[in-house]
Symmetry: C2
Subunit: 158 residues, 2 copies
């Protein structure tokens, strides 16, 4: 049974949009000096490395839960070398590409309870993860400026 | 002719999602002391009032252009009292609600050139405006923390 609703965006285009954001976030991670990544912040907030680890502990676990109903989640946000963080980032890129087509198309409009705690329409659960990444990456831009480092261009998702 | 593509999200749900973000951004504007809104920033960046004016000069002009092909845009980002900024914010809320249903549903998947300069699929043009708001609002969170002010909860879109 096909729906007759005209989409704002299709699932495939949304994944492409998200991966574009993730390429930009990767550049922000790269822009931090290794010794500042988990040590520097402004206003008593969390360092950018911790925020990037939060993004990783949300992205694949959310999509995996939507695919399978298995809502396991790691809370490991410990400091680690930038190269290890980038390796985890790239692993997540591949896992998202592999998991995404396994989401049954109708599911995006259904309601689920993420991690046994947060009920919502699946598209809103996914947008929350993406929006949280954009939100914290914007904070990373301020940290970089405060360090005297020019952040990557917001509009460039290459 | 109806499309058979299953949506990630429908146009109506996307507007509701955006207006939820806009309610949160409004709370961030409100959280700034009037005398800091256009005067305070971190790392030589633009003050939050200027960023909020940028959001306003993008939102309705983008949707109006998508509806009508009229790509007029104001670049007025001058300082003004918080109450005036909030009034402009609320005007935009109503204008978006009025303009949105005038977008022909198929158009979200078509390509347009926004403001005569930026070609893109219409859903990406709209997401750019929303993502830019989330990005700069995240920066506003850092400014508030640097001022010793607790920002509103990111997850609360009421």
């Amino acid at each position: 049974m096909s729906t007759e609703v005209t989409p704002f965006i299709t699932p495939g285009a949304l994944l492409a949009h998200w991966q574009g954001h993730r390429r930009l976030t990767r550049k922000v991670i790269e822009a931090f000096p290794d010794e500042k990544l988990f040590a520097f912040s402004v206003g008593g907030m969390r360092p950018f490395g911790t925020l990037a680890m939060e993004m990783l502990t949300m992205a694949v676990p959310m999509v995996k839960g939507i695919v399978s109903g298995d809502w396991g989640m790691s809370n490991d946000r410990d400091a680690r070398p930038k190269q290890e963080l980038l390796r985890l980032w790239d692993d997540t890129t591949e896992q998202l590409n592999r998991l995404w087509p396994q989401i049954p198309p109708q599911r995006f409009l259904e309601t689920m309870t993420a991690f046994g705690q947060w009920p919502g329409v699946v598209h809103d659960l996914i947008l929350y993860v993406i929006d949280n990444e954009i939100h914290h990456r914007g904070q990373g831009y301020v940290y970089l400026r405060a360090l005297g480092i020019e952040p990557p261009a917001f509009f460039d998702r290459s």
